[in-house]
């Protein structure tokens, strides 16, 4: 028993000793895109980690105690904001017992600050409309321009937490924005032939993407946010797509492929699995790769040539 206690003490001391040096900022986020941006902006002074991998649904992250453990020593927590993480973050943050990153503390960041929010509901939100986002559409990270806003916001936050490296954070954010701008020019060129084309998405998480690249959103495979479609609804949607000549259905890896495939099949369209979050599919590990893959999948599907990533 004594030796067990001793070895336990030794391992606890070992753990305390392994806490990284103070020059580094430990950043945790509720979305993989935000971790990717944080890593670009923070460079070598930051380790950024997302509690939600890109292939998991950012609305429904299981509030596992291990997530609370993971952020126990975080210096900064970056929330997507607009209640995208409202289903799990209110349990995980207090569960971490980390006073630095609680809502309202200096280490808590709402990444939606400064974003022009689309689809803000007017009037009261009723439950009859499904699991609607009451503060507006939180899937703003599907527009490259919005990630530029996040980058400069994070540079400010990191500089305040770690003033010694402020110049580096500002320079990294600027480099990120420049790279995003030149990439955007390339993506806009790839999407230009499809301006005005209509697509169907599983969930309303393409609103910002469509807005940026001039696509029309014909409808969603889920009849209301968070509600799976009935066979009747699938038929109706496919029928109206057929009449309107809509040829593309897109859905994320964390949605059930079946209803998307059914709608597409009945409408004579194609269903494409695409990732709107970094790390959602192989080969899109950061936000630039994400848009590379996303743009080529959507453009490929609209050209009628490609089934996209799948």
């Amino acid at each position: 028993m004594k030796s067990l206690i001793r070895s336990l003490c030794v391992s606890i001391l070992g753990l305390l000793a392994s806490v990284p040096s103070f020059a580094d900022l430990k950043v945790a986020t509720s979305l993989s895109d935000l971790a990717s941006v944080a890593q670009f902006v923070g460079g070598k002074h930051v380790t950024a980690q997302s509690l939600c991998p890109g292939y998991a649904d950012p609305h429904f992250v299981p509030a596992k105690p291990s997530l609370m453990n993971a952020i126990q020593h975080a210096d900064v927590f970056v929330s997507t904001g607009l209640e995208l993480d409202a289903g799990w973050l209110p349990l995980v943050l207090p569960g971490s017992r980390n006073p630095n990153i609680q809502q309202g503390a200096k280490g808590f960041v709402d990444a939606s600050d400064g974003i022009t929010v689309l689809e803000k509901p007017t009037g009261t939100v009723s439950r009859a409309e499904g699991d609607i986002h009451p503060l507006g559409n939180p899937h703003y990270y599907a527009d490259p321009k919005n990630l530029e806003i996040v980058a400069s916001h994070l540079a400010d936050v990191f500089s305040r937490r770690d003033p010694a490296n402020a110049a580096e954070y500002a320079a990294n954010a600027k480099a990120f924005q420049e790279r995003m701008e030149s990439s955007l020019a390339k993506w806009e060129k790839a999407m230009a032939p499809y301006k005005g084309a209509s697509i169907v998405t599983y969930h309303p998480n393409f609103v910002y993407f469509a807005d940026r690249f001039g696509l029309k959103l014909f409808g969603t495979v889920e009849p209301k946010p968070g509600i799976p479609p009935s066979p009747h609804y699938v038929n109706e949607l496919a029928e109206s797509m057929r009449k309107a000549g809509v040829k593309v259905v897109v859905y994320q890896p964390y949605y059930n492929a079946d209803p998307n495939e059914q709608v597409a099949k009945r409408a004579g369209a194609i269903a494409v699995e695409v990732a709107t979050e970094a790390g959602g599919l192989p080969g899109n590990d950061d936000v630039f790769a994400k848009f590379d893959v996303l743009v080529s999948s959507v453009a490929g599907a609209l050209s009628g040539k490609s089934g996209g990533a799948r």
Binding site: S66, S96, D131
Partner: protein, 229 residues
Amino acid sequence: MANSIGEEGFKDAGLEAAWLTPLPWFAELTGGVYQGIGVDDDHPLDFGSSRHDNVPFLGHFKNQFDLNDATTLELGQSFIQGRGSDADLHNAFGADLTIRNVPLKNANRRGWILMGEYLQKGSRVGGAYHQEQHGGYASFQVRLSQVWWMGVRGEQARDCTTDFLFDGAVPGKVTRGSVNVAWMPSEFSFVRLEYSRANADDGHGAKPTDDRIMAQLSYTIGYHPAHAY
């Protein structure tokens, strides 16, 4: 369990503190002291002594490990003790095990939960420990789709006098098995149906059985609640 000894039965005035230990897994130690309250429907344990040294306390140790990306193992131990109206020490301890699977890619469509718990009540009179009621349950719930869940559950309580099957005088054994199905059309509502059958045995020849059908309907209005894991 109709006569379960939960922390729920004990949420009265008191002081509670939880400490997340620096262990590499999630290990949380909770301790609390409470006001002594006698046994009633809401408080299945008698801590009602008016002795000034009666300070009922509770300790809970919760451990949770990730077995892989999707599966977690949770182990817990609880202990509570206080003085009863009879001035003797009364206590209860429990041990629970939960294995939960939530595949990250299908977090709101698939998964299962295996749970088991053992509870024992006892008292210490004149230095000797007397085991009173004890029992446990095991359950398995599986998510078939975004809207359908089903499950089975078995439980047994021994030396139990508080279940409806006994008139209160003779302690006996109650075994119950149940199956349930739940339909959850949205984040805000569910309908749950359960059928259960119980056998009792008082050890003196009385072996009544009991069949129940339960329907439960729930509708949440207003703010989207966070989902407990």
